[in-house]
Amino acid sequence: MSENTATPGRSLGRRRALMLAPLGLAVAGGAGFYAMLRGLGTGSYDPRGVPSALLGKPAPAFALPPLAESGLPALSNTDLADLPAPVLVNFWASWCVPCIVEHPQLMRLSRDGVAVFGVNYKDKAGDAAAFLTRHGNPFRRLGRDEPGRAAIDWGVYGVPETYLLDRKGIIRWRWPGPVTPEVLDQDLRPLLRRHA
C-alpha cells in the first residue's frame, strides 16, 4: 500500500526494498522447508517424533507372556540387561500394514545374527502366529502385549516402532515407523557397529 503514501523519486529506493520483501520471505521460508525435507531424509528432523524420554535409560520394568503358538520364549525387562551384543526391541502387530513393509529388514537383521526381540501389540494370538508363519520369524524372544500396557510404559507412538538397546541394556535409539531399507543401512547398521 506504499503507493498511497510514497512520493515519487526520493522514496523509490525504499519502495524497491519493500517490494523485495515478499521475495526475501519466500526465499527464507523455502530454505527452511528444504532443510526440513533434508532432515526428514537423514532423521535429524522428525515432525512426528516426540523425543523418547527413555533415551539413555534402561528399559522400563515389564514382563510379558509368550505367544504359545510360536514356541518362542517370553520377554521381560530382565532379558534386556548384560547382553553379549546390542539388541532391538520391535513393537508390531499382524494388523499393521507398515509392519509387513519392515518385516524383510527384520528378517535380514535376524539372518545377520542380530538379536531382535518382539513385542506383539494388541493382537489376537492366532493372527500373530499366522503372520509369523506367513512372513517368517525374525524374533528370538516374543512377548504378547495384548492390553498395550508395556507399550504405554515404553512410550510407543504406534506400531511399528523399534528400539535399540546397547549391551548394558540402555536404550540408545528409537524409530517410530517402519524400518525401511534406507533406515536399516543409514541409521541402524552404523549404530549396531558403534554399540557392538
Partner: protein
C-alpha cells in the same frame, strides 16, 4: 488398457501444457498474433486430455481394476459406487489429477469466456496457467503416477480409509480444489499484469469474478470439511486449528482480502500493486497448503501418507512459481505509477483497513502453523501451538474487522464522513448491545459467547441497514421495491455475504455455550443434560456392506414427552481393521443434540452427550456467504463482457 490410455492422456496433457506455457508467451513478447492465437485451442486441448485422464482414472476405480496400484491401496469391490469414485480422488495421486483437471477447466473457461480480453493479456494469462499445469503434470508423471500397475493383480483392494467413506468428504476435496485452483487464475492475471507492466480498472474487473468464484468455492469447501469433522470425527467440535485446516484458511484469508481490494482497483484504480501482491499471495498460500499436506514436514492427523522426495519436487515447483512471481514483482512493481488518491476515511480507506486486518490474521495463522516446524528445525524444540494462541491472537483482530464490516459498505468513495453512516446504523448498534446484555443475563458472565452474539447481530443488522438505506425503504417506501430490483446484484451479494458471516458467528457463539457429559449407562438407564432426559434403550449388532457395528438406541425426552430417538454407532471395518464412530445428531434450528457411543464394559455403554446450541448455523452461514458470492458473480457488470481497455500510454512501463 484403460490405465495405459489414462497415462498416455496425462503425457499428452503435459506436452500441450508445455506448448501452452511457451508459445503464447513468446508470441506476446514479439507481438506475433498467430502464436498468441494458439493459446485458446491449446488450453482446450489441455482440458480435453486431462479430462480423458481423469475419466480413465474414474473408470479403473469404478470397475475395481486391481492391477492398478492406486485401486489396490484405496478401493474395494464391496464399497458403494459413490465411494469407489470418491476413492479416485481420495488419495494423493488421484487428488493431484483432480487438481490439474480443475486447473485445466479454469484455463478452458478463460479461453472460452474471455472473449473480451485483449489478445496479449489472454495469451499471457493462459501461458502462466499452462506453466502451472505443466509443473504439476510433471510432478504426477515423475513421482505420483495414479496408473501404476501391480503384477500380479491383487485379489481385491485394501479399502478406503473408513473415516473418509462419507458423502461430505467425497465432495470436500473437489470444492476445496476449485477454490485453490481458482486462485491460480488470479495469480496468472497478476503475473500477466506484471509482465505487461500495467494494471488498470479493466484488469480489476476481470480479476474480481475469478477471485469471487474461487472464494465462494473455498468457503464451501472449508465449511464442508469442518462439518465433516463435526459429525464424523465425533469430537463435538467444528474447528481445531489443525495445521491442515489452517492451510485451507490461509488462502481464504488472502483471497478475502484480494476480493475486496480488487473492488478498489476496478472502481478507483488505486491499491493496484497491493492487489497484485494479494493475488500472488492467495495462490502462494494455496500451494503452501499443498506442500505442507503432501511433503511430510507437518505433523497432522490429516496429512497424506507422504515422502520427502515428493516434498522436494513440490518445493521446487513452489520455488519456480512463487519465487519467480515474487522476483518479477520486485522487479516490475516499483515502476507502476501510484494513482487514485483518497482520504483515510472513505470506502477505499475502509477496504484498506479490511485488507490490513485480514492480512494480519493470515500472518497470525501462518506464524502459528509454521512456528512449531521452524522451532523444531532451528532450536530442536518440540512445541505445539494450539487453540489458546489462535483464539487469543485472532480475537483482537476480529473485533475491529467485524465493527468495520457493517460500516464499510455504507461509506462513499474518495471522502466520507462517519456521522451519516453512524446515523444509519444506530439501531443495529442498539440491537447488538441488547444482545450482549441479554446473553449476559441468561448465561452468566461469559464474555466470549456474549461478544459473539453482539458481533453476529451487528453484522446481520448492519447488512440489513445497508440494503434498507440503498433502496430507501423508509424514506420513499413506494419506490422501494423498484429500487430493490434495480439495485446491482453485487450490492445484494455483498450484503448477503456479510450477513452470512454474521450467521456463522452466531453459530460459533452458540457453540461457546455448548455443554457435554460422559456417562456409562446400563440398558434402561438414563441421565439428564441441558433439560433433556437421555434414556439408553439398548445396544445391538448390525451389519453393513463392508462393516459391522454396535448400534445403540437412545430415547431423548423433554418433560416426559419423546423428542427423538437417536442411533449412535460404533462401526468396525474388518478390512482396514479400523473402528469409526458414527455420531447421532438430532438437529433443530435452535440446537444440535449430539450423541457418541463409546466402549461397552460390564453391561454398561459409555455415551458422550453434547448439547450444541445453534451449531447448524455455522455451516448455514458459510453457505449464505457462498451464496452471496454467487449472487455477486451474477451481476450484470460481470456477465456482460468488460469494456475494452483505454489506451493509456502513460501507464505503460517501458519493457
Amino acid at each position: 488398457m484403460m490405465a495405459e490410455l489414462g497415462h498416455f492422456a496425462l503425457a499428452l496433457a503435459m506436452a500441450l501444457a508445455l506448448a501452452l506455457s511457451v508459445l503464447p508467451l513468446w508470441g506476446a513478447a514479439r507481438g506475433d498474433g498467430r502464436l498468441m492465437a494458439a493459446a485458446p485451442p491449446l488450453a482446450l486441448g489441455l482440458l480435453v486430455s486431462t479430462a480423458a485422464a481423469f475419466g480413465a482414472l474414474l473408470y479403473v476405480f469404478a470397475v475395481n481394476d486391481t492391477s492398478v496400484a492406486g485401486v489396490v491401496q484405496n478401493s474395494h469391490s464391496a464399497k458403494p459406487m459413490l465411494y469407489k469414485l470418491a476413492g479416485a480422488w481420495g488419495n494423493h495421486e488421484g487428488s493431484m489429477v483432480l487438481w490439474v483437471l480443475i486447473l485445466a477447466l479454469c484455463s478452458g473457461a478463460v479461453a472460452g469466456f474471455g472473449r473480451g480480453l485483449p489478445t496479449a493479456l489472454k495469451a499471457r494469462v493462459l501461458a502462466v496457467l499452462g506453466l502451472v499445469a505443466s509443473g504439476f503434470l510433471a510432478f504426477i508423471l515423475a513421482t505420483s503416477n495414479p496408473f501404476n500397475r501391480v503384477w500380479p493383480p491383487a485379489p481385491d483392494g485394501n479399502g478406503l480409509n473408513p473415516v473418509l467413506q462419507d458423502p461430505g468428504l467425497a465432495f470436500h476435496p473437489p470444492l476445496l480444489y476449485l477454490g485453490y485452483v481458482g486462485f491460480a487464475v488470479t495469480f496468472a492475471f497478476a503475473v500477466a499484469a506484471l509482465l505487461e507492466g500495467r494494471v488498470d480498472a479493466a484488469w480489476g474487473r476481470w480479476v474480481r469474478p475469478w477471485a469471487l468464484a474461487a472464494w465462494s468455492f473455498l468457503t464451501l469447501g472449508i465449511a464442508l470439511g469442518s462439518w465433516w469433522a463435526y459429525y464424523e470425527l465425533g469430537w463435538g467440535g467444528y474447528w481445531f486449528w489443525d495445521p491442515v485446516e489452517n492451510a485451507s484458511l490461509l488462502p481464504w484469508l488472502a483471497g478475502t482480502a484480494l476480493l475486496h481490494s480488487a473492488i478498489v482497483v476496478e472502481k478507483r484504480e488505486a491499491l493496484k500493486i497491493w492487489t497484485v501482491l494479494l493475488a500472488l499471495l492467495a495462490f502462494a498460500m494455496s500451494l503452501l497448503g499443498t506442500f505442507l499436506v503432501r511433503s511430510g514436514v507437518l505433523n497432522s492427523v490429516h496429512a497424506f501418507a507422504n515422502d520427502p522426495e515428493r516434498g522436494v519436487f513440490i518445493l521446487c515447483l513452489l520455488g519456480l512459481y512463487i519465487g519467480g512471481a515474487f522476483a518479477l514483482f520486485a522487479w516490475r512493481a516499483p515502476a507502476m505509477a501510484p494513482t487514485g488518491v483518497f482520504a483515510p476515511l472513505s470506502r477505499e480507506g475502509g477496504l484498506v483497513l479490511n485488507n490490513l486486518l485480514l492480512c494480519s490474521m493470515a500472518a497470525v495463522v501462518l506464524t502459528g502453523t509454521l512456528w512449531p516446524m521452524f522451532a523444531d528445525l532451528l532450536f530442536q524444540q518440540k512445541i505445539s501451538v494450539g487453540p489458546p494462541f489462535f483464539n487469543t491472537a485472532m480475537l483482537p483482530l476480529s473485533v475491529p474487522l467485524v465493527m468495520a464490516m457493517a460500516a464499510g459498505p455504507m461509506l462513499p468513495w474518495k471522502r466520507a464522513q462517519l456521522w451519516p453512516v453512524l446515523q444509519r446504523l444506530w439501531w443495529a448498534a442498539v440491537l447488538a448491545a441488547l444482545g450482549f446484555a441479554l446473553c449476559l443475563a441468561f448465561n452468566g458472565v461469559r464474555v466470549g459467547p456474549a461478544l459473539g452474539f453482539t458481533a453476529a447481530i451487528w453484522l446481520i443488522a448492519g447488512a440489513a441497514a445497508d440494503i434498507i438505506d440503498r433502496i430507501a425503504l423508509f424514506r420513499r417506501p413506494s419506490a422501494a421495491l423498484a429500487r430493490a430490483r434495480g439495485l446491482p446484484r453485487a450490492a445484494w451479494g455483498a450484503a448477503i455475504a456479510h450477513a452470512g458471516l454474521g450467521v456463522s458467528i452466531l453459530g460459533m457463539a452458540g457453540m461457546g455455550l455448548a455443554t457435554d457429559k460422559l456417562v456409562a449407562l446400563p440398558p434402561g438407564g438414563s441421565t439428564t443434560l441441558a433439560g433433556y432426559e437421555w434414556r439408553l434403550d439398548g445396544v445391538a449388532d448390525v451389519i453393513g456392506p463392508n462393516w459391522t457395528a454396535r448400534h445403540a438406541t437412545v430415547t431423548v425426552l423433554r418433560d416426559g414427552a419423546v423428542v427423538t430417538v437417536m442411533h449412535p454407532e460404533r462401526r468396525f471395518f474388518p478390512l482396514a481393521r479400523q473402528t469409526t464412530t458414527e455420531a447421532a445428531i438430532h438437529t433443530t434450528m435452535a440446537s444440535d443434540l449430539y450423541l457418541v457411543l463409546g466402549e461397552e464394559e460390564g453391561g454398561r455403554a459409555v455415551l458422550r452427550i453434547h448439547h450444541n446450541p445453534l451449531a447448524p448455523w455455522i455451516w448455514l452461514g458459510a453457505a449464505i456467504m457462498a451464496l452471496g458470492g454467487g449472487i455477486s458473480l451474477s451481476d450484470r457488470r460481470i456477465r456482460v463482457a468488460a469494456p475494452g481497455r483505454k489506451r493509456a500510454a502513460t501507464a505503460r512501463v517501458p519493457a
